[in-house]
């Protein structure tokens, strides 16, 4: 399925009146902040690519190149107390919520002082104490029922809080997505569900994922509001999300927001994208890069100068440089930390009797020759 280079920001069910958009209220500083988070996302991912090539990243690397507006613009519509549930391509949203490059780098390098102490990979981590984002699991769709429950608790306690959960075009096919959004719909939970339609689920184009013409068409089947927007226009993303968040806050229930975007990199770094027409990727890169588009807006409408852009860039690079050094210097986890914290009680599992010396076991068994050759 060849996708057009630009997606019109169609909106259904509710319409964003151009005359008064929520983003009109954003200050120049806030707009620069949106820009900064998008750049921070991209530069951090680029740093991760470099580290990946140096084999300093353990496991796969996932990019959100070209989708930064969708993650950043939507998360920006939340208050700090609101809870966000990110997916693998929502690094930008996590950064907005306060995740730090240092955390991300440590996490990707499997370090012992990473947010999950080396237990989970890439950006599978969260913080529900202060910053209010939740660590995802791999099983697609599962976060939707979880966020239905998170937001149900807000409703039960009369808390003025909202939840936001992302779901990929591909993951809308899961039963968990269906059960969760339907449940939230019935309960009128204060929840925003963002379908990130980036055209592909791994190698699978959208038309093999569903016969629906557009994902926003699913809203009516759940009796919830539905709206579609250009996911590569950070202000449009902010607008529709903010309206959905406000609706949730007013007690008017769930909104399904479909953001049209495009996955310019492979599913993960090792994926050669053989299934994506090169011209399609190129067209999106040239004509519809969310950062380029926003730079234009900032320059033309807000007179942001080269100097300002350069100083943001310098700050970002310095931040990531420092974080990289710190992350590299971080220790790997202590093996026996693996036994801690499966349960609150007992807090520690006793070690197995046959495991005397961990390090030696590891050393003498890591990829022995007798296991055959490993080609990748």
């Amino acid at each position: 399925m060849a996708r057009a280079g630009t997606s019109p920001a169609r909106s259904k069910a509710t319409s964003v009146a151009k005359s008064s958009r929520p983003s009109d209220a954003l200050s120049r500083e806030q707009r620069l902040s949106l820009y900064r988070y998008m750049r921070l996302t991209r530069v951090l991912e680029e740093r991760l690519v470099a580290l990946y090539r140096q084999t300093k990243v353990v496991g796969g690397l996932f990019r959100s190149l070209g989708q930064e507006a969708d993650a950043v613009g939507s998360a920006f519509a939340l208050e700090q107390r609101d809870v966000l549930s990110p997916l693998i391509r929502n690094l930008g949203a996590m950064l907005v919520k306060g995740a730090t490059p240092l955390e991300v780098l440590r996490q990707y390098m499997a370090k012992g002082d990473s947010p999950t102490r080396g237990r989970e990979l890439n950006i599978h981590f969260g913080d529900t104490e202060k910053r209010n984002f939740i660590g995802q699991i791999s099983h697609l769709g599962d976060m939707v029922p979880v966020m239905a429950g998170v937001t149900l608790s807000f409703k039960m306690r009369g808390e003025d809080r909202v939840g936001l959960v992302y779901i990929g075009d591909g993951a809308t096919s899961t039963g968990a997505f269906h059960e969760g959004i339907n449940f939230a719909g019935v309960q009128r939970c204060p929840l925003v569900v963002i379908v990130e339609n980036n055209g592909y689920a791994y190698s699978t184009p959208t038309h093999k994922q569903t016969a629906a013409k557009q994902f926003v068409d699913k809203a009516i089947g759940y009796g919830i509001a539905g709206v579609q927007a250009d996911g590569n226009d950070v202000l449009a993303v902010y607008d529709v999300t903010k309206e959905a968040v406000d609706r949730a806050r007013r007690g008017e229930g769930v909104t399904l927001v479909e953001l049209m975007t495009y996955r310019r990199k492979g599913h993960a770094e090792h994926d050669n994208q053989s299934y994506q027409p090169p011209s399609e990727i190129e067209k999106w890169a040239l004509e519809n890069d969310p950062i380029d588009r926003f730079v234009k807006v900032l320059r033309e409408q807000h007179q942001v100068t080269d100097e300002e852009f350069a100083s943001i860039e310098a700050e970002i690079v310095a931040l990531i440089d420092t974080a990289t050094d710190e992350a590299e210097a971080s220790p790997m986890p202590e093996p026996t930390d693996a036994l801690v914290g499966v349960y609150a009680d007992p807090a520690v599992i006793p070690p197995l009797w046959f495991r005397e010396s961990v390090r030696s076991a590891v050393d003498s068994n890591e990829r022995p020759a007798s296991w055959g050759t490993y080609d990748g």
């Binding site: 999950t116 237990r119 989970e120 599978h124 981590f125 969260g126 529900t128 939740i134 660590g135 699991i137 791999s138 099983h139 599962d142 939707v144 029922p145 979880v146 966020m147 239905a148 429950g149 998170v150 937001t151 149900l152 608790s153 807000f154 039960m156 039963g175 968990a176 059960e179 969760g180 339907n182 449940f183 019935v186 309960q187 914290g341 499966v342 349960y343 609150a344 009680d345 007992p346 599992i349």
Partner: protein, 325 residues
């Protein structure tokens, strides 16, 4: 209070007392509100605690369990009723991947109870009689309890609701209205992970849980008449398992029969056997034997169901064989 309460009422009482004690406790499930649930376990609770704490849900087991987890992260203490435990299979992913790992991988607390009517002997056929406990035994992060008496049902339910982690609470529907007793006074909590000696004996140990505890006790009574003294250990908790109690009874009688209602292959008897074999090898005077269901989906017609499920006479025969060994 010296009135007897059934196993079912005991569970209801426990939930009601905990809901009164802690406003974070609430219940979700299919038809549990005004209707009181398919077995009436939650009867009256919505009237007492309101619609927002006793919530009727869509038919979405994964959705409900996932929502419970989310609410639990935020400090609530959800109880999920599955209309029949057989439908826990629909939430298998959510329980084993999301809920069980939440604390370990993300430091997310997940205090919640998932409960439902389990077990056979009621002509319920293959989809209303299951004992799915073994499917969850190899999932670290979950706890599993399966009481056999009314008092334990109450005490374990209270412990499960107060536990900081997810507890799968299996209720045997055959026992719902068949067993009853006067409840212990006060705030009766039975600690998770502790077995109970249901009958003391010296010749042979039977380790079992749930409905077959009663079958084992019947067999013990019959065998006593033959001069065979049987000790019956009711596990109560399956995960964690009470290794101390298991070892103590085996070291005392030196002969072990494990009885469960689940199918033989892959049932929990295997795990118990492995633990005993590792720790009590020298004390064993006979092979560890198992009386279990046959390895078939549980059929519905009475002669078939009775043939497949363990009966008292099977236990008697197995104990005799152990003694004769």
């Amino acid at each position: 209070m010296t009135v007897e309460r059934t196993y079912l009422e005991a569970i209801r009482d426990a939930m009601a007392e905990e809901m009164a004690r802690d406003e974070n406790v609430f219940i979700m499930g299919e038809d549990i509100g005004a209707f009181g649930g398919a077995f009436k376990v939650t009867d009256g609770l919505q009237a007492q605690f309101g619609e927002s704490r006793v919530i009727d849900t869509p038919i979405s087991e994964a959705g409900i369990v996932g929502a419970a987890a989310g609410a639990a992260h935020m400090g609530m203490r959800p109880i999920v009723e599955l209309q029949f435990i057989d439908f826990i299979s629909c939430a298998y992913d959510m329980l084993t991947n999301y809920v069980a790992t939440a604390r370990y991988r993300a430091f997310l607390p997940c205090p919640m109870v998932v409960r439902g009517p389990s077990g056979g002997y009621v002509r319920g056929g293959p989809f209303h009689s299951q004992n799915p406990e073994a499917a969850f035994l190899h999932t670290p992060g979950l706890k599993i309890v399966y009481p056999s008496t009314a008092a334990d049902a109450k005490g374990l339910m209270k412990a499960a609701i107060r536990d900081e982690d997810c507890v799968l609470f299996f209720e045997h529907k055959y026992l719902y209205r068949r067993v009853k007793e006067v409840m212990p006074e006060g705030d009766h909590v039975v600690p998770i992970g502790k077995a109970r000696i249901a009958r003391e004996g010296t010749d042979v140990s039977i380790i079992t849980y749930a409905a077959t505890v009663w079958r084992a006790l019947e067999a013990a009574e019959q065998l006593a008449a033959e001069g065979i003294s049987v000790e019956v250990l009711d596990l109560r908790s399956l995960l964690p398992m009470d290794d101390e109690a298991i070892q103590a009874t085996v070291r005392k009688t030196n002969r072990l029969l494990i009885v469960h209602e689940d199918t033989r292959t892959g049932g929990i008897a295997g795990e118990i056997t492995a633990r005993v074999s590792e720790t009590c090898f020298e004390w064993l005077d006979a092979p560890i034997l198992r009386v279990t269901a046959a390895d078939v989906p549980l059929p519905y017609s009475p002669p078939l169901e009775d043939y497949v499920l363990p009966q008292t006479s099977d236990i008697v025969r197995a104990v005799r064989r152990l003694v004769a060994y």
